[in-house]
């Protein structure tokens, strides 16, 4: 199963632009069409909002049996990250020793190659995270 064409072009993957509810002000990433708190009142009022890219590791794992698309890339770290804006997302942690990853670790987004599709010759980019030196 290749990556659907649409996905290659999801701009939020590059620019971390989520949504801010025009009613309650809450920030959502991945982007949502409706605020789960304000619901119909928020329809048409979800505005683009660019995340700062900084967050904290809430949990993580090391993938040692990868799916076919990540063959040859394991082991790699996947984390649940709480962004400073309050929303959560799933992403890889890179540029560090896997043993150094820990819950509570501060991270920042960087843009990297995520997958390749050998058959179609396509490369898909998006965010990963690295340790935030503060």
């Amino acid at each position: 199963m290749g990556v659907p064409r649409y996905w290659r072009e999801i701009p939020s993957r590059y620019n971390l632009i989520g949504k801010k509810c025009g009613v309650c002000g809450k920030i959502y990433f991945p982007p949502r069409s409706i605020c789960p708190t304000c619901r119909r009142k928020s329809a048409g009022k979800m505005e683009d909002y660019k995340l700062d890219g900084k967050g904290t590791v809430e949990s993580f794992t090391i993938i040692r049996v990868p799916p076919p698309e990540f063959e040859g890339k394991s082991p790699y770290a996947i984390a649940l990250i709480k962004m400073d804006e309050g929303c959560y997302l799933t992403g890889q942690i890179v540029d560090c020793n896997l043993d150094d990853i820990h819950i509570g670790m501060r991270v920042e987004a960087c843009f990297r190659r995520i997958q390749e599709d050998g058959k179609r010759g396509a490369i898909y980019y998006g965010y990963k995270f690295r340790s935030l030196k503060s």
Binding site: M1, G2, P4, R5, Y6, W7, I10, R32, S33, I34, C35, P36, T37, R39, R40, S42, A43, R120
Partner: protein, 388 residues
């Protein structure tokens, strides 16, 4: 059993909608239907969503949960159920939603249907659509999905003298109707000659006898009739909703010139609604191929078995005919995102019965029928809707 009404509808444009993902399509149709119904999210008791092969088209199963997330309903933890019956997935979602309300189990149920088909390459779509047929005993041997309908077409032509031109006229009519529907995938009018000159896919079906590969989503909001007026001035009553089955394989059927499941569903639906075929003012039928519409108008009793081709030629089913069929453009011209189709048919009938169908409005339409088929006839769903 209580009466059920449609209090809201919504759908996306159909076509190759390159810039929107499956979830955005679902969100768009769902939000439109909810806004149309004027309900609050907290009022929704359950969701049903039809999708045929989301696992293969977009690598995503579990779209019931996805629909809850895109609708922002997760904190309510309401049941959300994906149903699948190939190209009848949307009709089955409607039927299951209808049962949920009719039985008194739930008050407000949102029904959706969606498919994103254009993201796969080339022949992959052909292979995926063959999963609606019997993979082991039909597709394995080289039968394609158009091929199965071609077998019915050839049989029908042989038995009743139906002609290629009559098949083509179904496409011509539906493209004409599609040209009046802003949401249709094809708005270009075509001629019988265009159809006959288009490349042959599976004799006697040409490319223009076949519905396209499409992206799209549709939704409808159901409520008990007794409270429907609270939400809308124009509730449309579902006076019958029948789901029926037959063998998965075409070769397992009792006959090849009809879809027995559709005949059965139609019979029960007419009984339930207490009407006759001739009482139907407007119908959306499952014209995945032109032959399918001809068989459908026979199975639905609009004409005698075998007379569907002739009736089409004589204009019975045209927009200004006695029983306008596929005023939306049908699957042929409106587009056929398989999981969405059954719900999109309901959208069209509701528009017609509300008198909101614009240029393609059928005058004084009071009773409408929707006929949705899965595979080569393994599933059939018939809905009858009425102005109240």
């Amino acid at each position: 059993m209580r009466d059920v009404a449609v209090i809201g509808i919504g759908m996306t444009e159909f076509g190759e909608i390159w810039e929107k993902s499956f979830r955005e399509l679902v969100a768009e149709a769902g939000i439109k239907a909810i806004m149309d119904a004027g309900i609050e999210g907290e009022e929704i008791d359950a969701l049903y969503i039809g999708g045929m092969s989301t696992g293969r088209f977009i690598g995503q199963e579990h779209v019931g949960s996805l629909a809850v997330e895109v609708a922002g309903l997760e904190d309510l933890h309401i049941p959300s159920t994906r149903v699948e019956a190939a190209c009848a997935s949307g009709g089955v979602a409607m039927h299951q939603g209808y049962l949920a309300v009719a039985s008194g189990m739930y008050d407000i149920v949102v029904v959706g249907g969606a498919e994103k088909m254009t993201d796969v390459v080339g022949g992959e779509a052909t292979n995926i659509l063959a999963s609606a047929a019997d993979r082991e005993w039909e597709a394995f041997f080289g039968a394609t999905f158009p091929g199965l309908y071609a077998l019915m077409a050839k049989y029908h032509m042989h038995k009743y003298g139906t002609t290629q031109e009559q098949l083509a006229m179904v496409a011509v009519k539906n493209h004409y109707n599609g040209s009046l529907n802003p949401k249709a995938q094809f708005k270009r009018r075509i001629s019988v000659e265009d159809v006959l000159k288009s490349p042959m896919v599976a004799d006697p079906l040409h490319l223009l006898d076949c519905s396209p590969i499409s992206d799209g989503a549709a939704a409808a909001v159901l409520a008990p009739l007794e409270i429907a007026k609270k939400y809308t001035d124009k509730p449309i009553k579902i006076s019958a909703s029948i789901q029926a089955t037959d063998t998965l394989s075409l070769h397992g059927r009792k006959r090849f010139d009809a879809l027995p499941a559709a005949q059965h569903a139609a019979k029960l639906a007419y009984e339930k609604a207490d009407i006759k075929p001739k009482d139907v003012d407007v119908a959306e039928v499952h014209d995945c191929f032109t032959i399918a519409e001809i068989i459908a108008i026979e199975d639905l009793g609009f004409v005698e078995k075998g007379k569907g081709g002739k009736a089409t030629e004589e204009g019975l089913t045209a927009l200004d005919g006695e029983i306008p069929v596929n005023t939306s453009g049908g699957l042929k011209a409106k587009g056929h995102p398989v999981g969405a189709t059954g719900v999109a048919q309901i959208n069209e009938i509701v528009l017609q019965l509300r008198g909101e169908a614009g240029e393609r409005q059928v005058k004084e339409a009071e009773i409408g029928l929707a006929h949705n088929v899965g595979g080569s006839g393994g599933t059939a769903v018939v809905h009858i809707l009425e102005v109240i």
